[in-house]
């Protein structure tokens, strides 16, 4: 059913204008869990980082797993928005903003974790290069300092990438609402009128941003992977980490996007906009990333096994035959075996099918980050120093709270900004997928 521009506008403005009670209770519930997580973190800062389960030699555990996981999720927006914009794929129109929002919020949440995992978090600002009297200066050789710069650049870039195309929608909201909201959006839209010149500049800016944000995103997760690859730890010191992590990030990002779209679809009644065609295409992308991910996993493990270096093979078997084997095979199942039929067979590549595949992919990718970090640290070179890791309630609470924080932020965002880009969808009505311009809507 093809809609008119007016109907499109009404549908997409509705989530901003109306707030059903269900949404409010959901927000309250999520906020409570987030509060619990925050309290757990404050308890940790007050008592000492020892309340987390880390020990010697597994000095990094859940928090760094979460850090890598959320930064990985943040690659959703870049791929969908930027690459699909550049390739002029018309089915991207309803989903670009959903994706860009995921990027920004996942980055914000991910960037919290380096703070949370620090032993002395109140001194985290020492990572910033500021002039001081104490002889402090960040060490530019350290991948953590590269992280600082890369994540900041990506965050600023994604925020701009999100907000630039939102300006015309803010203008729409200014015109259609009244009272304090009207003034709020009038400020936010920065005086947008919609002149041809403004539209040209906006499209030019978006084009350049799309070109710029892709290498930034690739560099961010490459640098995160180098947090591990720049150490001599067995099975970390691998050159494959950079592309492996980028592929894994895009993989988990698309899955997270699909999950977010399913929830938005049902709760905001956006069925006609987030339609099965979007899910079909995203499902195909997810399948490609799943195959790519499996390729990298296989390549890394085969090389390690074939090389037969004692310390590396110890970690390899620890993961595949030792105490971590259950997690390992669950991960392979979640990331590859289970989604493969769901995504490859056209009949199964429905909204439900892609949703189920995405949920398992998100779980599997979290496990993958965990299995990269913990087994390698627990079996380093000297057997006397081997150890284990078990998370505590503090780490589990904070992990759960971040998932709720993501949902909460998303919900709040959908109340302030239309989560489907109105002007893009309207423009898409006028120019359907073939380039001819006179097909009537």
């Amino acid at each position: 059913m093809v809609k008119t521009a007016d109907e499109v506008q009404r549908d997409l403005l509705r989530p901003v204008v109306e707030t059903p009670r269900r949404a409010v209770s959901a927000m309250v519930g999520l906020a409570l869990v987030v509060l619990a997580g925050f309290s757990a973190w404050m308890y940790q800062v007050y008592t000492g980082i020892g309340v987390a389960g880390i020990d010697r030699p597994v000095f990094w555990g859940f928090y760094i797993t979460n850090f890598v996981f959320w930064i990985g999720i943040s690659h959703a927006g870049t791929l969908i928005s930027a690459i699909l914009r550049l390739s002029n794929a018309t089915w991207r129109r309803p989903i670009t903003r959903c994706a860009e929002v995921i990027t920004v919020f996942a980055l914000l949440i991910g960037a919290m974790f380096p703070l949370i995992h620090l032993g002395r978090p109140w001194l985290a600002f020492w990572l910033a290069p500021y002039p001081n009297q104490r002889g402090l200066w960040p060490n530019y050789r350290s991948p953590l300092v590269w992280d600082f710069f890369a994540i900041n650049t990506y965050l600023i870039g994604s925020l701009i990438f999100l907000l630039l195309p939102t300006i015309p929608d803010f203008a729409l909201l200014r015109d259609n609402l009244s009272g304090w909201r009207r003034k709020f959006y009038a400020v936010l839209c920065l005086g947008w009128r919609g002149t041809q010149r403004q539209w040209r500049q906006l499209e030019s800016a978006m084009h350049i941003m799309a070109i710029l944000i892709i290498p930034v995103a690739v560099s961010v997760h490459t640098i995160v992977s180098w947090d591990f690859a720049m150490t001599p730890v067995p099975m970390w010191h691998s050159t494959i980490f950079a592309p492996y992590f980028v592929v894994g990030a895009i993989f988990s990002g698309i899955a997270a996007l699909i999950i977010a779209m399913v929830f938005l679809r049902s709760s905001l009644h956006l069925e006609e906009y987030l339609n099965p065609r979007c899910f079909d295409n995203l499902g195909k992308l997810l399948l490609v990333m799943s195959l790519l991910w499996f390729y990298f996993l296989f390549a890394e493990r085969l090389t390690t096994w074939y090389g037969n270096t004692r310390s590396e093979v110890a970690v390899l078997w620890l993961t595949m035959r030792g105490p971590y084997r259950d997690l390992f095979w669950v991960m392979v199942g979640c990331n590859f075996v289970f989604p493969f039929p769901l995504l490859a067979i056209k009949k199964l590549r429905t909204i439900t099918g892609t949703f189920l595949a995405s949920v398992t992919v998100v779980i599997g990718m979290w496990i993958e980050r965990y299995l990269i970090i913990v087994p390698s640290l627990s079996r380093k070179f000297l057997p006397y120093a081997w150890g284990t890791y078990r998370p505590t309630w503090v780490e589990i609470t904070i992990t759960g709270a971040t998932f709720c924080a993501m949902a909460l932020l998303y919900l709040l965002f959908s109340k302030v900004v239309p989560v489907v880009s109105i002007w893009e969808v309207k423009a898409g009505l006028r120019v359907p997928s073939s380039a001819s311009m006179d097909e009537s809507s």
């Binding site: 200066w137 530019y140 600023i156 002149t195 041809q196 403004q198 941003m209």
Partner: protein
């Protein structure tokens, strides 16, 4: 440019938009003075010539600036701080290269947004005319300065096309 002197018409279809633009052109209004305001980018129509802003070149300049800043930050500051390294190199090009790259991209991104804000223009003092009907899908075509002699004739022509706003 004061909008008291302006004349605008609200068109509801792209065809009438083209008619309005042509009417204004034939009345002698120069193309650069015609303003077309819409709630969606009318990509397939080229109503007015917009001046070319060399945004990609400016973004590239921003990248060079940012990259230089990054490299100087990493190398100069490390050289000037008394950091004991026991013989290890103080300025390492590979790692400083990463900082340079990130700040170069940041420079390009920030430059692009600043150029956009300035060139669009957004946040401008000029009170451009506007009608909320635009957000309902109408396109507003007009010009800000109309010679008085032609004013009435143009009002008549434009009334035939759509609602006129003065």
């Amino acid at each position: 440019m004061n909008s008291e002197n302006g004349i605008y018409v609200l068109c509801s279809e792209p065809d009438s938009t083209e008619k309005a633009v042509n009417a204004l052109l034939s009345a002698g209004v120069p193309r650069s003075e015609i303003v077309v305001i819409s709630s969606e980018p009318l990509e397939q129509y080229r109503f007015v010539d917009t001046p070319k802003v060399r945004m990609p070149w400016l973004a590239a300049c921003g990248a060079i600036l940012g990259g230089t800043a990054g490299f100087l930050l990493a190398s100069l500051t490390q050289k000037s701080y008394p950091i004991p390294t026991g013989g290890m190199p103080v300025v390492t090009l590979w790692t400083d290269g990463i900082i340079t790259y990130e700040l170069a991209m940041l420079g390009a991104i920030v430059t692009t947004s600043v150029v956009f804000l300035v060139a669009a223009p957004l946040l401008s003092r000029n009170r451009l005319p506007y009608d909320p009907q635009v957000s309902k899908g109408k396109v507003m075509v007009g010009t800000n300065s109309v010679p008085d002699a032609l004013r009435n004739r143009m009002t008549e022509i434009l009334k035939a096309i759509g609602e006129v706003r003065l």
